[in-house]
């Protein structure tokens, strides 16, 4: 609370001081100068003259203990000229500082002189006082007037004492007149520096201006001594500041392992240190005992033992107590032992039989395969040496061993079951064909006569005659047993299909030629039947119903009574609107259907002979119709489109079943005479056996042929079926159907024939069984028909 008052007073006094216009010259400590203003140092003249006096003085200071009296004298004598002006100011300061204590002094008339004297006289006493209470008394207050306190050199201790504000940015006091407080709490006023002009004048007038530095703490200018400047210069040039210091002075040893000139410690060794330690003695005795007993070994012994052990190598002992009893411990689970390397065969011998050596071709092959990753038969080239001494070291030995190591730790292992069976065991055990006789075993008769491919053959129900239709437009009637061609009917166009009427009372054959279906009386066999047939089909019966235009447009009936065709035996001509591919009779012989693949929803037409009219059973086309047939026992009609087979009930006029063949293209379809089984041939090389009772999917898929299957057929009496294919083969199989529902059909391929040649990629086209005998007929693209008995 006193401070503001004090400061005011201080201000006043400082103002008075400034009037005096004198500057304080003080030597600022080096530390301050260097620390605060680098500019100052740089502004120093480089070739600054060193004041020898000062330097001497300083050296004296260091070396000799300073006598107080001498010091005083020195300071007095030296500072004479320089500090005369200073004294005044100091005196003034002194005055101002003492204002509070001795305000009465101010009132004195001429206090300046008196005070100065007084202090001078007091000087001795005061100094001593300073020594005692150094910290308590501010330096300035103790400074005797007329003497430079820095005359004997600067000591930073004193510097710090002067201002008590501490280490703070001095610009905090920029606004004030003072720059801090002394030890008594009085303000330290900023000294008057004058304006810029004064400064400039001073620069010109004062020769020592360059060595003046402002002390920030006190705000006073300090003149650097020559010694200081010298020190600064040395510092700048990175030399040791003290000139007198000898860097290379010999080292004086006071205390080391050899020299014990000076003790490390001041006090002498304790008495105890001369007595042996009891504790250590105990320890030592313990060790000695341990050594004696062999519990402990000396370092030397240990080293020797270690060395010996090292020389000996690893120590082995009886790890397994018995041969085959395993100790219980945790082990790797499901361990798969690595397979052993295969043992060498003759080719690896150094002197193998000569056939194992590579010839040129094999060598080339080996070289070609050497870099491939696939399995090679041999990983080395067999070599032959005449004697053992010529055998060199195997070059790839290390590499091979390395690869084995890699296999052992990197190759994934798994237990794979190895098949020990022979391939024969995979072939099903079927009854021997010899036990399944009768079946055709030889090709007995060739029926030659057609000039082009024979597309279709049909056997008469009595089994005496056979009709065949060929691409050359002829239909030939053969006697089976003799192989004689009885008659030939010629048509214009391609005869695609021929079908003998199954009724034994009739002598009628349906022939499909291009867009027409001819019903021909072959006029062979029983004369009664021939006449009867002619009579029956003399003219069209009365039509009680009007034929729908849809049917009318598709087919027209034409009864022939004369003409060239009639001469050949043609009784009726059915003119179709599209090309007819297939004709087939119903087993009763009254109905015949014709199939036109391009006919779309009218692709199948069923004709009734007794009424002389036709029907279209289907209104909607369900794909391209490939083949069709009547069911042998039920009023069913089977239609095979490209992929599926549909079974229709003709009476109820609905679909009964749809069979899914999962094949791409059906070629032919036939029904087992029992009615429950179905055989389908496909262009994708398969023969499918369907069991209608079982499922809508094939019971068995037989891939007997290597090319497209053209035709399939069942025998009417014997458990036989046959299939022909483009691979020039006819395969006859045993297909036994049991009445027992639990037993599935037995299928055994019996015999393969290959009697036809290949013509334009066609070979066999049709197959038919004899109605009574276990015989089979095939027709081929080479124009032949073959009978197998």
């Amino acid at each position: 609370m006193v401070m503001p008052e004090l400061s005011k007073k201080r201000k006043q006094s400082s103002l008075e001081k400034s009037q005096l216009g004198d500057e304080k010259k003080k030597v600022v400590s080096l530390k301050d100068v260097v620390g605060e203003s680098d500019d100052l140092i740089s502004s120093l003249p480089e070739d600054g003259v060193v004041d020898s006096d000062v330097s001497d003085d300083s050296s004296e200071d260091e070396d000799e203990p300073v006598d107080e009296d001498e010091f005083n004298e020195d300071s007095e004598s030296e500072g004479d000229e320089d500090l005369n002006s200073e004294i005044d100011s100091d005196e003034l300061e002194w005055e101002s500082e003492n204002e509070e204590e001795e305000s009465s002094q101010e009132s004195d008339g001429d206090p300046e002189k008196e005070d100065a004297v007084e202090i001078k006289s007091k000087n001795g006493i005061e100094k001593s006082k300073i020594g005692l209470r150094k910290e308590g008394v501010p330096g300035t207050s103790t400074q005797p007037p007329g003497e430079d306190e820095y005359a004997e050199g600067d000591t930073s201790d004193e510097e710090d004492i002067r201002n008590t504000v501490g280490n703070i940015p001095i610009n905090w006091y920029d606004e004030f007149d003072h720059i801090g407080y002394d030890w008594d709490g009085r303000k330290i006023l900023k000294p008057e520096h004058g304006d810029q002009l004064d400064e400039f004048l001073k620069k010109i007038e004062d020769p020592d201006f360059w060595r003046k530095v402002r002390n920030v703490q006190t705000g006073q200018d300090v003149v650097l001594s020559d010694k200081d400047i010298n020190q600064i210069k040395r510092l700048e040039s990175h030399k040791i500041p003290d000139e007198a210091f000898d860097d290379y002075a010999p080292w004086i040893e006071w205390f080391s392992s050899e020299v014990l000139e000076m003790p490390l410690r001041k006090f002498p060794e304790h008495k105890k240190s001369f007595l042996p330690s009891k504790d250590e003695m105990k320890k030592v005795s313990k060790y000695v005992h341990a050594l004696k007993m062999g519990w402990m070994k000396t370092r030397k012994a240990m080293k020797a033992k270690e060395k010996k052990e090292k020389q000996k190598g690893p120590q082995f002992y009886l790890l397994w107590k018995t041969d085959d009893v395993a100790d219980e411990m945790r082990r790797i689970e499901n361990h798969i032992p690595a397979p052993k390397r295969p043992l060498p065969n003759h080719s690896e011998s150094y002197n193998p039989p000569e056939e194992y050596l590579f010839n040129e071709q094999e060598m080339r092959k080996w070289n070609r395969e050497r870099k491939s990753l696939g399995n090679k038969k041999l990983h080395f080239v067999p070599q032959k040496f005449n004697s053992l001494r010529q055998v060199p070291a195997y070059k790839r030995f290390i590499r091979e061993r390395f690869m084995r190591c890699l296999d052992l730790y990197m190759c994934p292992r798994a237990i794979k079951m190895k098949l020990t069976i022979e391939p024969e065991e995979l072939v099903p055990q079927l009854p021997s064909p010899a036990d399944l006789q009768p079946f055709p075993t030889t090709a007995s008769i060739y029926y030659k006569g057609h000039t082009d491919m024979v597309r279709s053959i049909s056997v008469d129900p009595t089994g005496q005659f056979m009709a065949s239709a060929a691409d050359d437009g002829t239909v030939k009637f053969w006697e089976i047993s003799t192989g004689r061609c009885l008659r030939t009917a010629t048509f214009s166009g391609t005869a695609r299909c021929v079908a003998w009427n199954p009724s034994s009372q009739m002598s009628l054959v349906a022939v499909a030629v291009d867009r027409k279906v001819y019903l021909v009386n072959p006029r062979i066999g029983c004369q009664d039947h021939i006449d009867q047939t002619d009579e029956l089909l003399d003219k069209r019966p009365y039509q009680d119903k009007v034929t729908p235009p849809r049917v009318e447009a598709a087919v027209q009936w034409e009864y022939l009574s004369e003409g060239e065709l009639h001469e050949q035996g043609v009784l009726i001509v059915l003119n179709h609107f599209k090309e007819v591919k297939q004709v087939q009779w119903h087993w009763k012989g009254d109905y015949v259907f014709s199939l036109m693949p391009d006919g779309e929803n009218r692709s199948i037409l069923i004709h009734q002979l007794s009424r002389g009219r036709s029907q279209t059973p289907f209104n909607r086309a369900r794909g391209l119709v490939q083949a069709a047939c009547f069911h042998p026992t039920k009023p069913y009609f089977l239609v095979a489109t490209q992929r599926n087979v549909r079974i229709y009930d003709l009476v109820k006029q609905e679909m009964v079943k749809k069979l899914i063949t999962s094949s791409k293209w059906i070629s032919d379809i036939t029904v087992h005479p029992g009615g429950d089984n179905l055989l389908i041939g496909t262009y994708d090389r398969k023969v499918l056996w369907f069991d209608l009772e079982l499922s809508t999917k094939p019971y068995k898929t037989l891939s007997l042929h290597s090319q497209a299957v053209r035709s399939v057929a069942y025998h009417k009496r014997y458990p036989l079926f046959a299939s022909v294919s483009d691979d020039m083969s006819l395969i006859i199989s045993h297909g036994m159907v049991y009445n027992d529902l639990l037993q599935n059909a037995l299928i055994v391929p019996l015999k393969r024939f290959s009697c036809h040649d290949k013509v334009n990629d066609f070979s066999l086209l049709n197959v038919t069984f004899h109605p009574q005998q276990p015989w089979v007929f095939t027709s081929g693209a080479d124009g032949n028909i073959v009978l197998y008995t």
Binding site: P314, I332, N351, Y356, S387, C405, L419, L704
Partner: protein, 582 residues
């Protein structure tokens, strides 16, 4: 009620495997250390049944380990040793970097030793298991024993390998366990039978070491394997010696005590003597129990078992013979002959051997010794020959062992063109493979011996031939009789004129003769052809499921048949050429 939906790959195949990266993370090991751990512990990747499931749906091929295997590794104490090694390595590196060489040296002198005893016991629960897996161990150790000091292989490893290999061979010699030998272009194959286990290993030819490129061979991996194999082989050797009542670091009988008196390093001499393989080992028991071989007890068995037993007896007899094959022979090896394999084989079967004194330690007699029966020579001619002994090429020894009898020496004399050396490891029972005529000869030789033994019992095929003879005779006799009758009839014809009607009738009767019917000739090929056709049709009825398998099997069979055909053809050509030359 259905529970919460189960996460994928938490059970079954997906939860059984871990990838290598995961395993390494779980074990906190670097790839290098993980590899070492796997090699030492015998952990290997597994092939899953369904790779996609095992890899948790990831595509590509990853190295998969059994999760249980990795969990098993987690408790392995040597992992800590690895870590210690790593830190020591770092310390050494640091010391070197700070140029504290003494510290570095100190650290290097105290390497972290890894004990593998427990791993041997863990990987091979029984001694038999260990023996079963000795093939790779022996081959690699034998290879390493020929190595010079190279990078990445500890200095003492190859010497230790050599020591252990010699110990093992000594044990084989002592127990006479060698069964088959073979000189291949890769090296010498030896097959021994110990405790019923067949162990085959390869001794490389001389000077087998060749510097390898980095890409070809990583010696660090091989060295890790050897690190384990050494321990395994040591323990196996110890047990073998223990069972045979021998001192384990083997001791040889001192032949001449005086020889070694003024030597500095007696140990070296001792080890060289062991390396010579020519000194008998010292037994721990004083009483020498002379081979009390337990003969197979004979049991009365019927049918298949009996024939098997009979075979076993024959085999046992043969082996018994083999064990004393070279007994009583005194063999001298010329210096160009590879000493180690021959000494090993000859000593195994009881021969006495010596060689040039300057060649190696352990020569027992001089070349000039008159009692020498055979001298093994491998050079075109030799200057000084003794009449009292046979000079044979080394192949004779090998072939004799494989034939299990002393082969005639004529074909193996000096400078003779050697007969082909055949592998004894080829399975003769495999009819599909090609067997060269030499092998068949060898095989038939053995068969002949058996036949000689069995000659007392009349052979059934002979009877059949006799029967055939009889039948032919009977036919000829019938023919003869017919001829006779014809002759007689012709004779009678001469008397035609002066005969009455009765006589004429008789004559007519006589004219109605019965000519001998000819046997219907059956074409043997036709039957076969028919069968073949039938089979071909039956083949088409193979179930769809087996079709691919059947096809591949047939294809393999065809390929094998083709190989055999090629070899037979080549052989024929060679034989023809030889015939033309001679």
């Amino acid at each position: 009620m259905a529970g919460p939906r189960r996460k994928k790959y938490t059970s079954g195949e997906g939860a059984q495997y871990v990838t290598r990266a995961t395993a390494m993370r779980a074990l906190q090991l670097s790839l290098k250390d993980f590899r070492r751990l796997c090699i030492l512990k015998g952990i290997y990747p597994r092939e899953p049944r369904n790779r996609k499931k095992a890899q948790k749906g990831a595509t590509g091929i990853k190295t998969l380990y059994n999760k249980k295997d990795i969990r098993f590794l987690l408790h392995e104490p040597i992992i800590w040793k690895f870590r210690e090694q790593k830190t020591v390595g770092r310390k050494i590196g640091r010391a070197k970097a700070l140029k504290e060489y003494s510290e570095a040296k100190h650290l290097m002198n105290k390497p972290v030793l890894i004990k593998l005893d427990h791993i041997v016991k863990e990987r091979y629960p029984t001694f038999i298991d260990a023996l079963r897996d000795m093939d790779d161990c022996l081959t690699l150790c034998h290879l390493f024993s020929t190595f010079p000091s190279i990078r990445h292989i500890p200095r003492d490893q190859s010497t230790l390998c050599r020591r252990l290999m010699l110990e093992f061979m000594q044990a084989v010699i002592y127990s006479k366990a060698l069964r088959k030998v073979f000189i291949s272009i890769k090296g010498y194959y030896f097959q021994v039978e110990i405790k019923g286990q067949l162990i085959t290993w390869i001794m490389p030819h001389q000077f087998s070491f060749e510097p390898q490129t980095k890409e070809d061979v990583d010696f660090r991996i091989m060295s890790t394997f050897v690190q384990f194999y050494i321990v395994l082989l040591g323990f196996v050797n110890f047990r073998l010696y223990h069972v045979m009542n021998l001192h384990y670091p083997p001791r040889v009988r001192r032949v001449e005590e005086t020889e070694g008196t003024d030597l500095v390093d007696k140990m070296a001499l001792q080890s060289e003597r062991i390396a010579a393989l020519n000194y008998p080992l010292v037994s721990t028991t004083t009483s020498i129990a002379e081979e009390e071989e337990t003969a197979l007890d004979k049991f009365e068995l019927d049918g298949n078992e009996a024939s098997k037993m009979e075979k076993a007896y024959i085999e046992a007899d043969k082996i018994q013979k083999l064990k004393t094959l070279f007994k009583g022979m005194k063999v001298f090896l010329n210096r160009e002959v590879p000493r180690e394999p021959l000494v090993f084989i000859l000593r195994c079967f009881g021969a006495e051997i010596s060689w040039d004194k300057k060649l190696f330690v352990g020569a027992t007699f001089e070349e000039s010794d008159e009692t020498i029966t055979h001298q093994v020579v491998d050079r075109p001619q030799i200057e000084r020959q003794y009449i009292s002994r046979y000079y044979v090429q080394p192949q004779w020894v090998f072939d004799s062992v494989n034939a299990r009898e002393l082969l005639p020496v004529e074909r193996y004399f000096i400078g003779a063109v050697l007969p082909p050396h055949l592998s004894p490891f080829v399975d003769e029972s495999k009819t599909e493979a090609y067997h060269p005529p030499e092998e068949q000869q060898l095989f038939s030789n053995n068969e002949n011996e058996n036949e000689e033994e069995e000659e007392i019992t009349p052979a059934p095929p002979k009877i059949t031939t006799k029967e055939v003879d009889v039948s032919t005779k009977s036919i000829s006799s019938i023919q003869k009789s017919i001829n006779d009758s014809e002759e007689s009839s012709s004779e009678e014809e001469d008397e035609e004129g002066d005969l009455g009607p009765e006589a004429l009738k008789e004559k007519m009767k006589m004219k109605m003769i019965v000519t001998p019917g000819r046997m219907e000739e059956k074409d043997p090929f036709e039957e076969k052809k028919k069968e073949r056709e039938e089979y071909k049709l039956r083949e088409k009825m193979v179930h769809k499921k087996h079709k691919a398998l059947y096809k591949s099997m047939m294809k393999g069979r065809a390929l094998r048949a083709k190989d055999v055909k090629v070899l037979t053809k080549k052989r024929q050509l060679i034989d023809q050429k030889k015939m033309l030359k001679s």
